[in-house]
Amino acid sequence: MNPDIADSMDELRRRVMAAREAGTYGPGDLRGEVVPADAPPLVRGLADAARLAEVAPPPRPSGDHAGGVRGAAARAKHAAADLARRPVGDVAERTTAFNLALVAYVAELAAEVVELRAEVDRLAAERGDTARGGA
């Protein structure tokens, strides 16, 4: 590695560490660094999952057919993101955050399935209309 870059990257790491300790950055600004490098893999994995839950795109605007599921997804994700902002150390809380993130993800998938089914129904109805119109 270019020696100037090695030094500059070291300096960058020092600056990030100092700023983190000073509270400049929150979990949303850090990826995988909210926990110490020597923390157990489970703790590190949960922190990453919680971070993912925080940055995941919001559910699309709810339609009549899927509003309930999407609302649940949004609430679960919000709860997960909220937990992710709390201090690291309580594995139980982290586990909850992880589970909520999973629930949110599954709920979003379910919403997509509902939406796709509605789309299939709509297309089938359209085709039926076309066939009748052309007959």
Binding site: N2, D4, R15, Y25, G28, D29, R31
Partner: protein
């Protein structure tokens, strides 16, 4: 094969087309042609990489010293392609019939395939499009691929790798891309016909724009020199959403934050929280682009999916250091070896790296100088031309 007839086949071609593979195609073809190795362009009539609608007339003309032959896009079902493209992104490797259906509905052109038979060597790029895939399938002996590989599920589909293995040769843009290709083939269990060769894109030793010219450019756009610059398509796939998030962190934490200028086109608008600090330069003509880089304090490149990182070189040649996403092996390697920039992994490292480079002119100068030397030493045109012609000769 000293007098081989060579054609390059990109899926689209034109002065307003923005994209790394397209820019590489244009630059390499033009430079080879200008230095005694004529290259024709065979492409489609399309310009928009989302719709692939025919936008230009079919036929032949000369553009930038190159003979350009355009053919209509072949029949395809865009909805099927989009569905399968998305399925691959989400699920990874899909069943064989779906892989073929995916490529069958990608952009391709029967006219281009017919025209390619008139040449001794047909260089297709990038791997992801039907124009490249079907040329490899139809005439592998004649075909050389510049895949511009990214670490993405589409590159792991067996039909893609089988096609690559069948081609006469594979040209890579950087050593980092070679590492990725090695991993993909090891998992796939295939082998290339010939060892791949790194060629890449070349650059001229043009002088760095003057400070006065750079300042005048900045002021024409309501900026002061020293801004943060993004250059490229504004799409999620290019990491622009992530850049917006990181820039918001920078705005919140830097004592003297600089504006973010966006050069290029795309629909991904900045969110409300940062909108007042973002300046849209839009599409910038080639002759002005060096000024946009020269007036910037640093170029930020958030994409993970780069096989070369053309904009890094453009920035270095204009005297500007870069900040890159550490998840791009290719770009991180360019910076680590060449010394032209730092890499970030999240909002905090982005903010601190931006402050280091934008607020320390001595550091910025050292990084920019190192980057420029790297670009000209390893990717000056004479070396790139020699690498291309050597590979062609070895694969004759």
């Amino acid at each position: 094969m000293t007098h081989a007839r060579i054609a390059f086949v990109p899926p689209r071609f034109g002065p307003t087309v923005v994209g790394g593979a397209e820019a590489l195609c244009r630059a390499l073809a033009a430079n080879l042609t200008a230095h005694g190795t004529p290259v024709d362009i065979i492409t489609t009539c399309a310009l928009d990489h989302r719709t692939w609608a025919d936008a230009l007339p079919e036929g032949e003309n000369r553009e930038g010293g190159l003979r350009v032959r355009r053919f209509r896009v072949g029949p395809r079902d865009a909805a099927t392609f989009a569905r399968l493209h998305g399925a691959i992104q989400r699920r990874g490797i899909v069943p064989f019939d779906q892989q073929v259906e995916w490529m069958a509905n990608s952009v391709w052109s029967p006219g281009a395939l017919r025209a390619a038979r008139e040449y001794d060597r047909v260089v297709v790029m990038p791997y992801l499009f039907g124009t490249a895939f079907w040329q490899q399938v139809a005439d592998p002996d004649r075909t050389v691929v510049i895949p511009c590989l990214h670490d993405e599920p589409h590159a792991r589909q067996p039909v893609v790798l089988d096609a690559l293995c069948s081609a006469r040769g594979v040209m890579l843009n950087a050593e980092g891309e070679g590492d990725l290709l090695g991993q993909l083939l090891a998992r796939h269990g295939g082998a290339l016909r010939n060892a791949p060769r790194v060629v890449g894109c070349g650059f001229d030793d043009d002088p760095v724009p003057s400070a006065d010219a750079a300042q005048a450019f900045a002021r024409r756009h309501g900026l002061e020199p020293g801004y943060l610059l993004y250059a490229g398509r504004r799409e999620q796939g290019k990491g622009v959403g992530e850049l917006y998030d990181h820039y918001a962190t920078y705005l919140r934490t830097a004592p003297r934050p600089r504006p973010l200028a966006l050069m290029g086109t795309g629909d991904l608008a900045p969110p409300r929280a940062i909108r007042h600090h973002v300046v849209d330069l839009g599409f910038v003509e080639a002759r002005e682009r060096a000024l946009a880089y020269a007036a910037a304090g640093a170029l930020a490149q958030p994409s993970r999916l780069e096989s070369f990182g053309m904009v890094l070189f453009e920035a270095w040649l204009a005297g500007t250091p870069v900040l890159v996403n550490e998840e791009s092996d290719v770009m991180r390697a360019h910076c680590a070896h060449g010394g032209g920039g730092l890499w970030f992994r999240d909002g905090a490292t982005f903010s601190e790296a931006a402050q280091m480079v934008l607020d320390d002119p001595a550091l910025a100068r050292r990084l920019a100088d190192a980057g420029r030397h790297y670009a000209l030493d390893d990717f000056g045109w004479p070396r790139v031309r020699a690498r291309f012609l050597d590979a062609m000769a070895d694969w004759a």
